[in-house]
């Protein structure tokens, strides 16, 4: 009995064959995870002004220095934990940065009652309206450097800071406010006001002051440390999407029966299995060398296109004429080597036409346009047909 070679590898053989690549893939994943965990998110931007972000946009540097100076910094991500961290004694400072506006008016107001001093970085319109209604946004400030020019101790110590960020303008002239780092036209980058319930609110527009990348420039560090380190406890609060108030009606998940989700999952699995069912091949493809298909008339077609592209009318017509003269000579019984004059004479006699006309058609006419070429070729055919009629034995 013969023995056959099975080409499909067994599971064991397939595993052994791909073992190296599987190990290599695992090794690469491990290396990648290690590298990411070691370098942290330093290379990427990370969350801006996050207390744990050591990247250029983060604020780990200032938080770290504050901690070394004995300030207790607690980092929070939700409103409830922030209020818990602030405690009830109203002695802590709150840092708030909420560019996406997750907090609504009521939530913002609930913060003012708990903190002694709130530092708001780049406040939005809604945040201004809730925390400092006497101040309005005044557009972007692009100056390189801003001098303090005010009596606020934290600003005085800094003397000058990096200017880029947003500016504010005091719209309620009667309000008690300290305005620092002016950039002209009553626009200031730091305004400290008093909230109605006694909480101090500092609106900080120069974002570079806190970022790791720029904190060492000018008086940035001095301003940041003095502004945030004015009490022994600091709560660093960056609101997240969990803080946003629930709006709208019930979601689709609330409205549909509980089996819809599992059914969708099951149908997706069925689709994948069906794809495997239909896609599984009955063995490998069989290879075969196929011949090249070259039509012999390709050269003729190519030459015709060349004639046409180059408008070689006379050359084309001459080819037609030579063929016609050969056929006419054979038709009229002349020898193959007969001259064209003999052919013209014989044809003129047979068809009873003027030899000059036939000479013009067979030799002299030069087609100037494609239309003329078609007309001459038709005349050649007509002449051949006439000669055939004349010579055919009836």
């Amino acid at each position: 009995m013969t023995t056959n070679t099975t080409l499909t590898p067994t599971i064991r053989r397939a595993t052994r064959k791909s073992l190296f690549w599987m190990l290599a893939a695992v090794f690469l994943v491990v290396v990648a995870l290690t590298v990411v965990s070691l370098t942290g998110a330093a290379n990427s931007g990370g969350t801006p002004f996050s207390a744990t972000n050591a990247g250029p946009a983060g604020s780990k540097a200032v938080v770290q220095v504050l901690r070394q100076r004995g300030v207790t910094v607690s980092v929070t991500g939700s409103l409830t934990s922030t209020i818990t961290a602030l405690g009830r004694d109203r002695r802590a400072t709150l840092f708030l940065y909420d560019p996406n506006g997750y907090l609504d008016q009521a939530q913002l107001r609930s913060l003012t009652g708990s903190a002694r001093h709130i530092v708001v970085l780049s406040p939005t319109f809604a945040q201004l309206a809730a925390l400092a209604p006497q101040v309005a946004l005044a557009g972007t400030v692009t100056k390189k450097s801003l001098a303090s020019n005010c009596s606020l101790p934290a600003a005085n110590r800094a003397e000058s800071v990096t200017g880029s960020g947003t500016g504010f303008r005091l719209i309620d002239k009667t309000a008690d406010a300290q305005q620092c780092f002016g950039s002209g036209k009553r626009v200031y980058s730091l305004i400290a006001v008093e909230h109605l319930d006694g909480t101090g609110v500092s609106l900080l527009g120069t974002t570079d002051v806190l970022s790791n990348e720029h904190i060492a420039e000018r008086g940035n560090a001095a301003l940041a440390l003095n502004l945030l380190g004015d009490s022994t406890r600091l709560v660093w609060y960056l609101p997240t999407i969990d803080d946003s108030a629930v709006t709208g009606g019930p979601s689709i998940a609330d409205l549909t029966p509980p089996w819809v989700g599992p059914t969708m999952t099951l149908l997706a699995i069925v689709a994948i299995v069906a794809a495997f069912w239909r896609g599984r091949r009955m063995g490998p493809l069989v290879v075969e060398n196929l011949p090249v298909v070259v039509r012999a008339s390709e050269t003729m077609e190519g030459r015709a296109r060349l004639y046409q592209r180059g408008a070689a009318r006379l050359r084309a017509l001459d080819a037609l004429r030579v063929g016609a003269i050969d056929r006419l000579a054979a038709q009229t019984g002349l020898p193959r080597l007969a001259g064209v004059d003999e052919v013209i004479g014989r044809v003129a006699t047979l068809t009873a036409t003027d030899p000059g006309d036939i000479r013009l058609l067979l030799l002299d006419a030069v087609p100037a346009t494609d239309g003329e070429l078609v007309r001459l070729s038709d005349s050649l055919l007509e002449l051949e047909r006439a000669v055939e009629r004349a010579t055919r034995p009836s």
């Binding site: 069912w277 069989v286 012999a296 063929g323």
Partner: protein, 438 residues
């Protein structure tokens, strides 16, 4: 492994418990149940690896004919093998059906017949047999591809054999003709026979007549005439050009296939006429050679050699052809060159070599003409067609010029459309034989 449609259906039925019982936990339970049942089915399916396969196959088939290929499957395992078998033939082997159902109990043997109708000449091979064996529930299957090599040689069709009987009849008519009708130097004396009315009086052998009348006892002298027959045991050498120009297709048939048809008809005819036929297929090296074979074996050897030859994309080396012919025979022979005569430039090698051959041999050059060129030269309806007609006329002029040059060098030219060339070449052979020019 593979799964069946039933498996997919079973999985989809999981919608019922999930919807009716309303508990999302049923999803995982159902998935586990289906996976478990599928796994059990897969494990108890008969292993296709335990099959022993053998193939029974004819060695040759003429193109266009159908032959059966039988596959024997013996189950050497302990479990029944049920499922589908695919015999992996190359596409142009024309295998049908491509899939077959299979059910072999352990220790038994089944056969599967696949009919092959190849649609291309050459060696057609089967790569492997793929068996998909389902479990008893027909949910999951094991699959394996098993190597069972098999090749079949697809021979040229020899469609022109339909012309053979008429040509043989004409050949027979040449026998027994009187000398006047075929007064050639190559004719041989055949026999003496009685004069019948209509015989040429010049062929009467008076001496034999006198002898005959001596012996005869009856009514006066009976006239005897000499008869002649065409010469026998001449050499015919066929050289087929398998270079790049032979790959071009005319009427969807490569030139080389027409050359094969022509040489098969010529070979059949010449071997019946008592001549010795040798065949060489050449481009820059000898691609096939049939030499020293006579009788019925000649044709089978010829088709066998031709079957595997395809044109190569290289230029024909004409300079080597005289040496090639010399290596086949030293005697005077009819040398038939199967090539294409297109343009004067492309035929320079052929024209340069011809005098060496024509000095000693009778040379016939057979070339396929394209009927579409002739049609194109007549169609002159619009501007595009007129330019095409001009190009066609130019092509025909080129062919005529090359043919004239070949004739001036002492060789003969036979041209024709693919269907007409083989009988035309056979007719030329008969004409040469009748003229005693072999």
């Amino acid at each position: 492994m593979a799964v069946s449609g039933w498996f997919v259906l079973l999985l989809a039925l999981g919608v019922l418990p999930v919807v009716v019982l309303g508990d999302p936990g049923w999803l995982m339970a159902w998935l586990a149940i289906v996976a478990g049942v599928g796994a059990i089915d897969l494990v108890i399916a008969g292993s296709p690896r335990r099959l022993v396969l053998e193939r029974e196959l004819p060695k040759r088939v003429r193109l266009g004919e159908t032959v059966p290929s039988t596959l024997f499957l013996t189950n050497a395992g302990r479990r029944r093998v049920r499922g589908i078998v695919r015999d992996g033939w190359q596409p142009s082997a024309g295998a049908s059906p491509s899939r077959a159902a299979l059910d072999v109990p352990p220790g038994e043997r089944r056969s599967i017949v696949t009919s092959l109708t190849p649609f291309r000449r050459g060696e057609r091979a089967a790569a492997e047999v793929t068996v998909r064996s389902f479990g008893p529930l027909r949910l999951a299957a094991r699959q394996a591809s098993i190597q069972v090599p098999g090749t079949i040689r697809v021979l040229p069709p020899f469609n022109s054999r339909k012309h053979l009987p008429s040509r043989l009849a004409r050949l027979r008519e040449l026998d027994g003709r009187t000398s006047v009708m075929i007064r050639g130097q190559g004719t041989e004396f055949d026999s003496l026979r009685d004069y019948v009315r209509g015989d040429d009086v010049r062929s009467i052998d008076w001496r034999a007549t006198a002898r005959r009348s001596d012996a005869s006892t009856g009514s006066g002298p009976r006239l005897v005439v000499r008869t002649w027959r065409p010469e026998r045991d001449r050499r015919v050498v066929i050289v087929i050009d398998s270079g790049r120009t032979s790959a071009a297709r005319i009427a969807n048939e490569p030139r080389i296939d027409t050359a094969f048809e022509s040489s098969l008809l010529l070979g059949a005819l010449a071997s019946r006429a008592g001549d010795r036929v040798d065949l060489v297929i050449y481009d820059r090296r000898v691609r096939g050679r049939v030499q020293g074979t006579t009788g019925a074996e000649l044709l089978s050897r010829m088709v066998d050699v031709m079957a595997a030859v395809d044109p190569e994309l290289i230029e024909m080396d004409w300079a080597a052809v005289p040496g090639l012919v010399r290596s086949v025979t030293n005697q005077r022979a009819l040398v038939v060159l199967m090539t294409s005569i297109d343009a004067p430039g492309a035929s320079r090698g052929l024209l340069g070599m011809l005098p060496q051959l024509t000095r000693k041999h009778t040379v016939v050059i057979s070339s396929v003409t394209d009927p579409s060129v002739l049609d194109a030269s007549r169609a002159r309806g619009n501007r595009d067609e007129v330019y095409r007609a001009a190009a066609a006329e130019r092509a025909m002029l080129d062919t005529t010029r090359v043919s004239t040059a070949i004739r001036q060098l002492g060789a003969d030219v036979v041209t024709g459309a693919p269907a007409d060339l083989p009988p035309a070449l056979a007719d030329r052979y008969i004409a040469l034989k009748a003229a005693g020019r072999l």
